[in-house]
Symmetry: C2
Subunit: 108 residues, 2 copies
């Protein structure tokens, strides 16, 4: 069993309080609003939009709409990282899933 402290420290989901927005199947504008509020209400300097698999396209849409339509000129895409994770599916097959992290930053 993994000690709780390790899980808490390294589990990606725990970073969601840390200016990260993890994109899934909720209504599109939920995520856009989430990003915009990190910059406005919480006064964050950076917000990281994360997604896996088919939600990667959506993550790019969220980044574009938030940066260009809602926060025009105040925020821009600073960095994009893609990677992939291998794991064993429930059926025992080796599966690879792509991931993306898009960092939006306030223009200074």
């Amino acid at each position: 069993m993994i000690p709780l402290s390790t899980t808490t420290q390294f589990d990606d989901r725990s970073k969601m309080n840390d200016n990260s927005i993890f994109i899934g199947g909720k209504p599109f504008m939920n995520y856009v609003t989430g990003v915009v509020m990190q910059f406005t209400t919480k006064n964050a300097d950076d917000v990281i939009i994360k997604a896996r698999g088919k939600f990667i396209s959506r993550a790019v849409d969220v980044a574009e709409v938030a940066a260009k339509r809602f926060l025009d000129n105040a925020v821009a895409i600073k960095d994009i990282k893609v990677d992939s994770e291998g794991f064993r599916s429930n059926e025992g097959r080796d599966v690879r899933v792509s991931t993306i992290e898009i960092t939006l930053s306030k223009n200074r």
Copy 2:
């Protein structure tokens, strides 16, 4: 009317001969093979993988599989650009579509 020379020079599609692979709905391995062959048979130094909308996730998958499974250590992702294009749909609505360009390069 746009002069032909301008169209030829600036139309993105014309760059498809220029080491670009445009991702669509064909079988996944077609695109991976296309990328790998640009580096091997055609000896390209860079290949640009382009996609729009829902095919963006697929473009990331193609880049990851080509770079990590087929060309391991020989090729890496050098640059990723995302953008969005606005246009008027057939129904007269203003539509925005996201785009991605992933540049894979030979490690030197």
